[in-house]
Symmetry: C2
Subunit: 223 residues, 2 copies
């Protein structure tokens, strides 16, 4: 593996996760550099963030999923990623499916983050769905991408309490703080060559094999 | 609410959760007494445990779910629970659906425990399904029962790490230790009159409204 690694980011929206990745690369927390940012939305904040940091920012027009034009657009994205010698593709709020071609071009090297404890609450409204369901523990998942949304092998998960006082926005905020840490950590493990995919399981080299860490919510008061 | 409350337990299997409830009642940790144990399996360990503690132990033959005979059997169970002046029904490894009649007879007063972070991994193999999926965080859910399995309002959830060294049995054991605490805590909150169901949400009176508790697995190492 190249060191630092070249990261290619796919985004659709404002890109606070992208910003955290850029910042952690610049701070040396991640042994990597963001080599290119590609967004399917021309005016998106993520392209703006990239330009501010002198990172090539590419708008890719991505037609309707599943059409031949969508396949072509994904080939074009693949080409851009390869032109920038990308080692790891990070989906950071990219709201589109990626094509089998693109997946095959970066085997075991495309990551995504989802703001729920998968397989609970997949889809585009993870935190809102968790809040509406009434769970007491919510969270996030960083995982490798696969042909479906939100179903690839899991690298790291984080769990947080849902408070009785929570509304959707406060739950979003509680999870977001951890998203930045967890995603950067997963990327750094990749950069260090410590991730190994074995079936549906991701083995992280050097993880403790014993712990009594738990999160119980509401907290148990029994003596 | 009567104090101590009368608990009626429904069981199918060996009943380690039942044993924890009995022990915590006898120790005064739960303001309750187990008034009757009903099992759909005649030789089950749960009936044996009940008898050892001088608790009435009733075998109920429960025919195929959905049949008129199943409805009748559920009416008979309801009658036994009422005869023992049960305030709270606790499903403790009871592997059968309960009828709408039985549900209606104890509104907001039937609890169940499931060894997964619902809505992930419902059904009879929660821990095995979580292990096979490759989640990094697993757990348990204590919830009020509803007409479907594993879908009622959630009282308490507990999250634990899944270690790379885990097999199904070690994960089962890690979750089981918390099951006993969490279920007894939920019962004690009920006995104290501190649970209020509001739509899909269960409000527990006196719970902290701020916390920075999290469980991240594998642990984040970034500086």
């Amino acid at each position: 593996m190249r060191n630092p690694i070249n990261i290619g980011a796919l985004a659709s929206g404002g890109g606070t996760n992208l910003q955290a990745i850029i910042d952690n690369c610049e701070a040396g927390v991640i042994d990597g550099r963001v080599a290119v940012v590609i967004s399917d939305r021309e005016g998106s904040g993520s392209l703006e963030r990239a330009r501010k940091h002198g990172i090539p920012a590419v708008h890719a027009h991505v037609p309707k999923t599943g059409t031949p034009e969508w396949v072509q657009a994904n080939r074009q994205i693949t080409r851009v990623l390869r032109d920038h010698e990308v080692d790891l593709v990070c989906m950071a709020g990219y709201m589109r499916k990626i094509s089998p071609d693109l997946l095959a071009a970066f085997p075991g090297a495309i990551m995504n983050i989802h703001p729920a404890l998968l397989p609970s609450f997949p889809g585009t409204h993870g935190q809102a769905d968790a809040h509406a369901y009434g769970v007491k523990v919510a969270g996030l998942t960083v995982h490798f991408a696969d042909a479906e949304f939100d179903q690839g092998p899991i690298i790291i998960q984080a769990a947080v309490p849902v408070l009785d006082t929570d509304e959707e926005d406060t739950l979003v905020a509680r999870i977001l703080g951890l998203e930045h840490q967890a995603y950067s950590q997963a990327i750094q493990w990749f950069a260090q060559g410590r991730l190994q995919i074995s079936g549906r399981r991701v083995i992280v080299d050097g993880v403790p094999t014993a712990t009594d860490a738990t999160l119980v919510w509401p907290p148990v008061e029994l003596g």
